[in-house]
């Protein structure tokens, strides 16, 4: 027995890098695919972050000439598209991939090969988008990367205004990654419904699994409409159809409706798993049960439903008429209720707890403050007259970056620090983690708090420069000052990942003394996930295992 494992070990150590690469390319294991999703997402995060940095460099001074207007248009288009479709979605679904089967006690996702398909389609979709820099000139020799903005409004996307193939690269790349996301959503739904382990009924599922369930179901309803709209755009551009051709009676506003019917719920697709991370991490580092689990589940489902009826608040400036404007303003503000409930759930969990401020908890704590601000500016923008004043200004840019960085990215960092030991068997360095946290939290707030004021002063988004007499110079300079801090923070993070992978402290199975099933197996887990799977008897199966005299079940 031991001789055999020794022989295996020797064999493993002799594998060439080509063998290792081959293993990762042909794998259908949810853990490897999950890791590849997250790593690819972080790689795209770096690329899109550099694009943002270039834009901030251009805007740091008035009348600056670092990049030309054309290049600037491409930068914000690629930045937005990358961040939403190649960073947010893959990281969120990557964590879902890795964690959902472990958390519910399954061996893998319901359809492992479909899962691999989803990942590779996403990756090649992403590469297709970036191929536009090389191949986007098309037959007409105009443009390179797409420059139509991440929501690609009609009629700018028509042949007349976007000759060449750069817009088609945007369209096809996003369409293709969309197919992968739809496939993975089907997969996650089937996994969560059908493969829960013994005793894991719906009322005991970890919050993160609940959020992935809602997100996957939501994706099935909102992403295909985007694919349909993109198919229409393809027909318009290649076959001369007139869906969005205003000259032939087509409607540019129809594209906005189709796009935002996807685009707004998409924000919830991204942020709900962030809520899931926080709901897993805060209890463990407060040493308390998650406060108000049923309310959190209800709030998550409610956000999923209400989130589908708010899309036209992106279109207040179009002029929808009083009735529609009021309805969408009201439904937008309605979202604040379940979201507010969640904030109190997390505060209630921390209240009276024995809080340990390890790096994951630091990021969660910052998330609470920043996400609250993001939510408040969201309610402000939901008030239609206020939105009319500040639409397409830097106030809007500041708002959604507060949601997606201050909210989502902070929870992603927390999640990486929290689950890295499970995935690799080694701890991330706390010291570097703290450095990363403080650099990023200061840099982020410097950049994006300031941006709100720029918006209120009337600076429109997407302008490539501004004259010196507008009084925007100081604030723009401060906004750009936050960027190097954030770059440094991410560099420290990357260094931490690479260094800890080799040299980090060995984690053991359960380094945080946590309660969900993924900590019941080894770190990293074996290919089959569990050699012995505990029967779930409450929402905290590992608590029951560790405290047989005082199980959770009777208290739920």
């Amino acid at each position: 027995m031991s001789a055999a494992t020794e022989a295996e070990r020797v064999q493993i150590s002799r594998r060439s890098w080509l063998d290792v690469l081959h293993e990762w390319v042909v794998t259908v294991d949810h853990k490897r695919l999950g890791i590849m999703y997250v790593v690819a997402g972080i790689a795209f995060l770096v690329v899109a972050g550099l694009e943002a940095s270039l834009m901030r460099l251009q805007l740091a001074l008035a009348d600056n000439t670092v990049v030309s207007p054309e290049v600037f248009n491409r930068l914000f288009t690629m930045h937005g598209t990358t961040m939403v479709f190649l960073v947010g979605i893959p990281i969120v679904f990557g964590f879902g991939n890795y964690l959902v089967p472990l958390m519910i006690g399954a061996r893998d996702l319901a359809f492992p090969r479909l899962n691999a398909f989803g990942f590779w389609v996403f990756l090649f979709g992403g590469l297709l988008l970036y191929l536009s820099y090389l191949a986007g000139d098309g037959l007409y020799g105009t443009g390179s990367a797409p420059a139509v903005g991440w929501f690609a409004y009609a009629p700018l996307t028509s042949r007349a205004f976007s000759p060449g193939n750069s817009t088609d690269f945007w369209n096809l790349a996003v369409l293709v990654t969309g197919f992968g996301t739809i496939a993975t959503s089907v997969n996650l739904c089937a996994t969560i419904v059908c493969l829960r382990g013994p005793g894991m009924h719906l009322g005991r599922m970890p919050m993160f699994v609940w959020t992935m369930f809602v997100v996957s179901a939501l994706t099935l309803m909102i992403l295909p409409p985007l694919s349909a709209a993109q198919a229409m755009l393809l027909l318009d551009r290649f076959l001369g159809a007139h869906f969005f051709d205003t000259q032939a009676g087509g409607s540019a506003v129809a594209w906005q409706h189709f796009f935002w019917f996807f685009g707004h719920p998409e924000v919830y697709v991204l942020i709900l798993p962030g809520f899931g991370f926080v709901s897993e991490i805060i209890p463990v580092f407060s040493r308390k049960v998650l406060f108000g689990y049923p309310m959190l589940v209800a709030a998550t489902v409610a956000i999923g439903f209400v989130g589908m009826s708010t899309w036209a608040h992106h279109m207040f400036a179009v002029g929808l008429g009083t009735a529609l404007t009021s309805a969408f303003a009201a439904s937008t503000m309605l979202v604040a209720i379940p979201t507010g409930v969640k904030i109190f759930n997390w505060l209630g969990t921390m209240y009276g707890g024995k809080i340990r401020f390890a790096t994951p908890m630091l990021f969660c704590a910052a998330f609470l403050f920043q996400f609250l601000c993001a939510g408040l500016t969201g309610v402000m923008l939901g008030v239609a007259p206020f939105d009319w004043q500040l639409t397409d200004s830097y106030f809007v840019v500041a708002h959604f970056h507060f949601v997606l960085i201050g909210g989502l990215l902070f929870t992603i960092f927390a999640a990486v620090y929290y689950w890295f030991p499970k995935a690799t068997g080694r701890m991330l360095s706390e010291r570097l983690g703290r450095l990363h946290f403080w650099l990023f939290v200061i840099g982020f707030n410097l950049t994006f708090v300031t941006m709100h004021f720029l918006g209120v002063q009337g600076m429109p988004r997407r302008i490539y420069t501004y004259p010196a007499d507008r009084g925007w110079e100081t604030l723009n300079f401060i906004t750009s000052l936050g960027v190097p801090l954030q770059i440094l923070g991410v560099a420290v993070f990357a260094l931490n990942l690479i260094w800890s992978l080799r040299r980090g402290r060995v984690a053991g199975d359960d380094p945080w003394d946590a309660w969900t099933l993924e900590w019941a197996t080894t770190s990293p887990p074996p290919a089959c996930n569990f050699d012995r799977l505990p029967v779930t008897t409450s929402r905290r199966p590992l608590w029951d295992l560790k405290h047989p005299g005082d199980p959770d079940g009777p208290h739920e």
Binding site: G105, A106, R107, A110, F111, I182, S185, V186, N187, C189, A190, T191, V193, C194, L195, R196, G197, P198, G199, H201, A217, L220, M221, I222, L223, P224, P225, S227, A228, A229, A231, M232, L235, L239, G240, A241, H242, F243, A248, G249, G250, S251, A254, F258, C528, N529, F530, R532, L533, P534, V535, T537, P541, D544, L545, P548, P551
Partner: protein
């Protein structure tokens, strides 16, 4: 001390649905929202064409092909029932009949499109009616084609004697897809040929 079990082993009284069924329901939900947008676009652009031809001038009710497609839903259901009784080859015959009905539907669409293009000069770029009509009906016809490929594979297995009662659930999932394609046609028929004319 809580009990320990292997993954996939449930306690007595616990039940989970089959992953194939849930997966197919997920796919159908996704496809429904895809079609919903094309249907909404069709209704939204109804009567907004700047030039002719208009629906009322050129569209005829496709009664015969509709009957074919609806009948194919019945034949595929019969095929499944026959399969459950263990008669694989008879199931193949019913599947073949289903495929023929589906092909008849596609042929009907082909003839209709030929008349529209050759006689009335209506293409996807003529006007908004052409744009929305060909995309909606075409997307549906594409789904019929995919369904026919799936049924064709099943049929081939049946005649090779490889389709047995234990494959009933998988065949049933294929039939769900086919029923879905039929249901979409009912909506398309109503919207394009009844409301839209």
């Amino acid at each position: 001390m809580s009990a320990v079990s292997a993954p996939g082993v449930l306690a007595a009284g616990e039940w989970r649905p089959s992953r194939g069924r849930v997966g197919m329901i997920g796919l159908i939900v996704a496809e429904s929202s895809l079609f919903a947008v094309f249907v909404v676009a069709y209704l939204f652009y109804l009567g907004k064409s700047l030039t002719g031809p208009y629906p009322k001038d050129v569209l005829d009710l496709p009664v015969l092909t509709t009957i074919c497609l609806l009948a194919s839903s019945v034949t595929v259901a019969v095929a499944l029932r026959v399969l459950a009784r263990g008669r694989g080859r008879a199931c193949g015959l019913w599947l073949l009949l289903t495929i023929l009905l589906g092909l008849a539907f596609l042929a009907g669409t082909g003839v209709e499109w030929y008349h529209l293009i050759a006689q009335h000069g209506l293409t996807i770029r003529t006007n908004l009616f052409g744009t929305t009509f060909y995309s909606l009906v075409g997307f549906h016809a594409g789904h019929v084609t995919v369904g026919l490929v799936i049924l064709g594979i099943l049929c081939a297995f049946a005649f090779a004697g490889a389709l047995r009662p234990e494959h009933h659930e998988r065949a049933e999932l294929a039939s769900w897809y086919w029923h879905f394609v039929d249901a979409v046609w009912v909506v398309v028929f109503t919207v394009v040929y009844v409301v839209g004319r």
